[in-house]
Every structure is written in structure tokens, then in C-alpha cells.
């Protein structure tokens, strides 16, 4: 049966008088890609920030692997298996691909006290890093400085860094932004390949891609959920057609 890894319950975030996220509840299951779509400013990124712990919610709770993690700071949630990527490229440009992944993998085995040890000599983090890079299709680029990668490769590296932390849940903020057709294909293939073991939340603007890959779709307008269901249900939902799809023609 399906296994819920992350559950957001009645999450709300207010900025002064503005409600950026309004009582949003959702569940992420292992093996599923759950897409959140909505216009700019609909509150999608804020939702990711609430789930990952980057922002404290005004109200509502987050449950990770059955535990209430609402009070946990972001790093603790991350170590407990919550990985996220960012809209902007956040890879470390002066590090190589391998170092980027290794640094991410290190989050699980931090060993900060071992000041005499060479970070690169740490076998388990090295293995995790190589594994993550391989799954993201970057094995050939391991020794290349991240700043020199193409845009698509940087996005892949983002995913690889997420994977390197050994997460259960992946929160991906527009992984396809700014990609060409070929790069998009590669990324979708990558997501399809990793989804079996993870629960994935996908915030994305590329509708074709979303409807191709998503198992569930949640539509947000002005911070609130107006529809949620399978791609077919969402496609046929009248509110969605008016509020969102209609505009796009």
C-alpha cells in the first residue's frame, strides 16, 4: 500500500495582512511525483519553504515519516530525510561536481571534530557522492568545476546534491526552469528513475512536463488549494480551467 512520507496539515503563512499560503494540506507518498502548480505568486515556493522548515508557518503542522517535525529547524528535518532544491542555481561554483556532492553527502556524517582528516578521504561520503552523481548522470563530469557546467547540468547537479544527502522526500523547486527540450527530457528521465524510492514534490511551470510525469497534481491560487487529484481529474476540473489552464489557452 501507499506509504505517506510527508504530510502538511493546514499550513498557513501570513506576511502582515497578506496570506501567502492559506490552510494548505497535502500528502506525499513514496513512489509518487506530486506536482504543485499555480501562477506566479500563488505561494508554491513559500509552501516548499514551510515544508522544509526554512520558514516557520503561522499555523499548521508538518509530519515527516510519521513524526511531527513542526518545531524542528530546517537542518534537522534535512538530516531526517527531507531534501530540497532551489529555483536559483545554488551549487558551489568553485567546487568540482564531486566536491559539491561530497559536501552534501557529508551532511549525514558531519564529523566536524576530526580536523586532521582529509574530507575527501572519507569513504562513505565519497561513495554516496559518486552514487548520487551517477544517478543524476554526472559521472563523467565529476572532476569539473561546477561553475563551468551548462545550465542543464547545474540543475542536474542540484538534484544530485539532494540525492547525496540520502533523502526520503525531495522538494524540487522548478527543476526545469530555463532548460531546453533535450535537457528537459534528460531531467524527466532522471526524475522517473529516482521516484520509485522517494516521495517527490515538484513545483513546476512547464505544464506538458507536469502532466507527463505527475501522479498527483495540486493547484494553488492566491495561496489556497483550489483542486487536487490525478492529472485527469485536475485537467477536467472546471475551477482549474478557469483559474489557471484557461489563461494559458
Amino acid at each position: 500500500m501507499s506509504e505517506v512520507l510527508l504530510r502538511g496539515h493546514e499550513l498557513t503563512r501570513r506576511w502582515g495582512g497578506l496570506v501567502a499560503v492559506d490552510r494548505v494540506s497535502l500528502e506525499l507518498e513514496r513512489g509518487q511525483v506530486h506536482a504543485v502548480i499555480g501562477t506566479n505568486g500563488a505561494g508554491k515556493s513559500t509552501l516548499i519553504n514551510l515544508l522544509s522548515g526554512e520558514l516557520p508557518p503561522s499555523s499548521g503542522t508538518v509530519e515527516l515519516l510519521g513524526r511531527d517535525v513542526s518545531a524542528w529547524p530546517q537542518p534537522r528535518r534535512a538530516r531526517a530525510g527531507l531534501g530540497r532544491s532551489y529555483q536559483r542555481n545554488t551549487v558551489y561554483p568553485s567546487f568540482t561536481v564531486q566536491e559539491n556532492c561530497r559536501l552534501a553527502a557529508q551532511a549525514r556524517h558531519q564529523r566536524p571534530w576530526a580536523w586532521w582528516r582529509d574530507a575527501t578521504a572519507c569513504e562513505d561520503t565519497r561513495a554516496a557522492a559518486h552514487d548520487a552523481a551517477a544517478r543524476a548522470g554526472l559521472t563523467d563530469w565529476l572532476q569539473v568545476q561546477a561553475g563551468l557546467l551548462s545550465h542543464g547540468q547545474k540543475r542536474q547537479l542540484e538534484i544530485a546534491m539532494c540525492l547525496a544527502t540520502g533523502p526520503q522526500v525531495l522538494l524540487l523547486d522548478e527543476p526545469l526552469a530555463g532548460m531546453g527540450a533535450e535537457e528537459t527530457e534528460r531531467m524527466l528521465g532522471l526524475l522517473a528513475a529516482v521516484k520509485a524510492e522517494h516521495a517527490i514534490l515538484l513545483v513546476e511551470h512547464d505544464m506538458d512536463a507536469v502532466f507527463r510525469i505527475a501522479d498527483r497534481i495540486t493547484v494553488m491560487v492566491n495561496g489556497a488549494v483550489i483542486a487536487s487529484g490525478s492529472p485527469t481529474e485536475v485537467r477536467e476540473n472546471a475551477d482549474v480551467q478557469v483559474a489557471y489552464l484557461g489563461e494559458h489557452g
Binding site: 522544509s52 526554512e54 529547524p73 530546517q74 537542518p75 534537522r76 534535512a78 538530516r79 531534501g83 530540497r84 532551489y86 545554488t90 558551489y92 561554483p93 568553485s94 567546487f95 566536491e99 561530497r102 559536501l103 552534501a104 557529508q106 551532511a107 549525514r108 556524517h109 558531519q110 564529523r111 566536524p112 571534530w113 576530526a114 580536523w115 586532521w116 582528516r117 582529509d118 574530507a119 575527501t120 572519507c122 561520503t125 568545476q145 561553475g147 546534491m161 544527502t165
Partner: protein, 332 residues
Amino acid sequence: MSMKTIFVFTCFAALVLWPLSAGSYGIDLVTKIMIYAILALSLELAVGTTGLVCFGQAGFFGIGAYAAVLLSPQGEAAALWWLLPACVVAAGLYAMVVGALSLRTKGVYFIMVTLAFAQMAYYVVHDTSLGGGTDGIYLTMKPVLGDWLDLDKPLVMYAFTLLGLMLAFAFLSLLLRSPFGRALAGIRVNEQRMRATGFSTYPYKLAAFTLSGAMAGFAGFLFAVKDGFVNPELMSWHQSGAVLVMIILGGLGHLRGALIGAFAFALLQELFQNEAVFGAFAKHWHLGLGLTIIASVALLPRGLVGVLGQLRERLVGRPMRRGAAPIAEVRP
């Protein structure tokens, strides 16, 4: 062996051989510069490595120096084996308190809070009789280690300082390669990302800041022992500013930069003050120093460390293999 390693080894070899050719003044001068190099290294750990721009390093330096004087018993020499660690711990403790509080702030605000805490230390010794007030206080007996280490002899002091510098450098080199150091590097470039990856960044930053302060305290201890005299001016913001200038001049993000910067800054002062070179104009040596600094900013965007790379680019047109990553944003 990389160019980097060769450079560092050459430098240290030169420092080891220096007393053979230098007079007693040369030995004193280089001892002083090496103490400042340790101070610069300590700041490099905070600023260049972790991205914490500390404008109060002189506070920790001064606390190390004052601790050396105040903890020494009256009329007899203290034992080095406990005095040195005590000074380092004193400075480190203060750094820990300052860091614990000031790490709540970011950017320029952080710069100013660290300055504030250094100024507090400054005024405590300046305005109270605790440490002799404005006239400063003497360290009458230099610390000893058994009978065989006499820090009163300039050559012994030189060797001791050089050893300290080497150990500091080696320690930091190892530290930066270690998991801890890599995490600091990550925090410098993008702290948010590090948190999202699972690093609780606050303890990392606090640890780095405390280490940095403790190392500055070590430099302060050496300073007090070398001069036998400490004064509130050790903690003044001019000192903090000067060390910051050293590491920027040398090139941020490199341990070598701190070394080069400390030497360049001190030697430039020596040069422009030298009457044999500049005659009557030596009196206006600030002008020469200032213009040189301005020129170096204009011409050497990566600091003195980057000079070779820049030359190579100019000659061969090949980009550096590894550009220095930008320092954490200072802008609000």
C-alpha cells in the same frame, strides 16, 4: 607538489634561514611580522574561510596579550605550559561569547557588532586601572619552560614565533581540508543551501569564530611576551582594521594570502618610512602606503596571491584553473 605547496615551503624555509643573514633588528622585525601573520591567519579563518567579516579581531588579540601580563604572577616568571593555554582560552572564551551573540546578525551589522565588542574590551582596559590604564602595563618576567627556553633571547623568541606560525598554518591547512573546513567553505558561499542540506550552520560558525579568536589570542600572547609591554591601543579599531587590510591585500580565501598580506603590509611600511630611500619624504610615509594600497585594489582584484595568475593570464591568455569564490555578500 603543486605550485602552492612549493611556495609555502619556500617561504617557511626562507624564514628558517633568515636569522643567519639578518641582524638583530631584522630578527625583531620578522618576529613582529610573524606575530601579525598569525593574527592575519586567525582572521582569515573567520573572514576568508567562513565569510564572517570580523572587525574586532584586535579585541581577541589584546585579550590574549593582557591575559599574558595579568595572569603572570608578580615578581616571578610564569610557566609557559599553563600561561600560553590560559591566554588562548581567555581569548577563545571571549570570542565564543561575542560570537554566540553577534552571529544573530548578518553582513554589515555583524561587522559592527564585532567592532562593538572589541571596543568594549578596549574601554575596559583604557578607562579602568585593571590593566594599567592608558599608559599600559609591563610584563616584567617572561614566561619560561623549565630552564631551556628563554624567551628573553631574541633568537629564541624568533624560533618560538616561527614554530607558532608554522603550527598555526599547518593546523589551518588541515582544518580547511577536513569535513569541518569544507562545511565552512560551503557556509561562506551559501549558508541557506547548507542548512537545506542538513548542516546546522550556527555551531559551525560559532566554532570557527571561537577558533579564530583563540588563535588571535595566541598571537596576542606572543606579542606581549616579545615586547614585555601591553597597551590599550592593541585593541583599538585601527588594529582590527589593519589586520583586515592585510588579508584583503594578500588575497581573501587563501591562507597564503594572510601570510603574504601580513608581510607586504609591514614591509611596505618599512619601505616608505626608510629615509635612505625616500629622504625627507619618508616623513610622509602614509601617503606612499595609501597610494600603494589604492593601486593594489585597482590593479590586483584578487589580491597579491593572484598576481602570478594574473600575469599568466596576461601572457598566455589562459584563465585560472580555480577562481577565488566570491566572499559572502556584505550588502544588506
